[in-house]
């Protein structure tokens, strides 16, 4: 039965989004339109499972505030959640023409003490950064994580010239709704597996799923120090 369910899920993945809430078509992909579709996720369930072992985990969400996500994670984990919208930082630096200062900015961006965060929802924000900025952000995030803490990152496997961010709305632990909104710059060059592993050299990849939505979902864990 489980296999049958899995096959159906895969079939839906092949067919693309499960449903499109907005009445837009492929031609309506202008940045001013809001596109929305639901896709399966395999890493979210594992991310939640990792955090459910913690009492009142501290969760850092690098996406924009999504009210239903706040409710979802609060109810699932009884967590403390801090939303730090990195896309806004990128937009501000693009607008001010100071994009080259992002690496330095990310190094000082977070006020949480090192090794105090249980989980990080990185989403796909690294796709929008040049290599030095991505490295700086990845290093800062790795420092924030507690030993055994985990980070969920999404990486596109396809280059896209469209300047849009994606807001990931959690429907349930196996489904995400992708909602696009205008960005100040498009995704930068797609990161290869090796590139991603180098970015997070202090973390260990525990799971990696190549989804049919052309997103690679990766779950990282910070190894506990050896005694």
């Amino acid at each position: 039965m489980a296999d049958a369910t899995r096959s159906l899920t895969d079939l839906f993945g092949i067919l693309g989004p499960r449903r499109v809430a907005d009445a837009g078509t492929a031609a309506d992909s202008s940045v001013t339109n809001v596109a929305e579709a639901s896709y399966p996720t395999k890493a979210m369930h594992k991310f939640l499972a990792n955090l459910q072992a913690s009492d009142g985990p501290l969760l850092l969400d690098l996406g924009p505030v999504v009210g239903s996500n706040v409710t979802f994670f609060g109810e699932q984990l009884g967590c403390r959640l801090r939303v730090e919208d990195i896309a806004k930082d990128i937009d501000r630096h693009v607008k001010d023409n100071t994009i080259e200062q992002l690496p330095e900015f990310f190094a000082k961006r977070f006020k949480e003490a090192p090794a105090t965060v249980d989980g990080i929802l990185c989403w796909d924000i690294l796709d929008y950064l040049d290599r030095p900025a991505a490295q700086s952000l990845a290093t800062a995030l790795s420092k924030l994580l507690k030993p055994d803490g985990c980070l969920l990152g999404f990486f596109s496997t396809a280059n896209s010239p469209e300047p849009v961010y994606t807001k990931y709305v959690v429907v349930d632990e196996s489904t995400l709704r992708y909602r696009t909104y205008p960005a100040s710059r498009p995704r930068q060059r797609s990161l290869l597996n090796g590139d991603i592993i180098k970015l997070f050299k202090d973390l260990r990849v525990t799971d990696s799923f190549l989804m049919k939505s052309k997103v690679r979902e990766m779950l990282f864990r910070k190894p506990a120090p050896r005694i």
């Binding site: 505030v65 009210g67 706040v70 959640l81 801090r82 919208d85």
Partner: protein, 146 residues
């Protein structure tokens, strides 16, 4: 149910044992631990807020603590940290800060631990505005669903 009208400005501590709707301006501290506080669409609050439930349709600057629920409705705005077991943020609402939705048992357990400051708790003292460093980091608040 008590209503503070649009033209009313209060500076100081506001406490009571009735449900309250604020359409005016309040600065300081609001303490309605057993009651529901509603910030109406015209209400502007610069205060630490403690209540059983808080419904925000207007603007709140300061930390909000509720023993039951915080509900930020469409066009409602909160700049500050929220601590409540249930939090609802509507599409179109504005929120900047952190959310602490720890269950009561977890919180008691954490507070019992020695030498561990409660992370994610409102990080500034009552009466103070949100951490300036935090404000620096977020030059703009986030409008949900925009």
């Amino acid at each position: 149910m008590v209503n503070i009208g649009k033209s009313v400005v209060i500076k100081g501590e506001l406490s009571g044992s009735e449900d309250l709707t604020i359409e005016g301006h309040v600065e300081g501290r609001i303490d309605l631990r057993e009651n529901v506080l509603t910030i109406g669409p015209n209400g502007k609050i610069k205060a630490e807020v403690f209540a059983k439930s808080v419904v925000v349709l207007g603007e709140v600057t300061g930390n909000v603590t509720a023993s039951e629920k915080v509900d930020i409705r469409d066009n409602g705005s909160v700049d500050g940290d929220i601590a409540s077991p249930r939090v609802a943020i509507a599409e179109g609402a504005h929120f900047r800060g952190s959310v602490d939705m720890q269950r009561a048992g977890q919180k008691a357990q954490q507070q019992g631990k020695p030498n561990q400051p409660p992370q994610g708790q409102p990080q500034h003292q009552p009466g103070q505005q949100p951490n300036p460093q935090n404000q620096h980091q977020h030059q703009q608040g986030q409008r949900v669903g925009a």
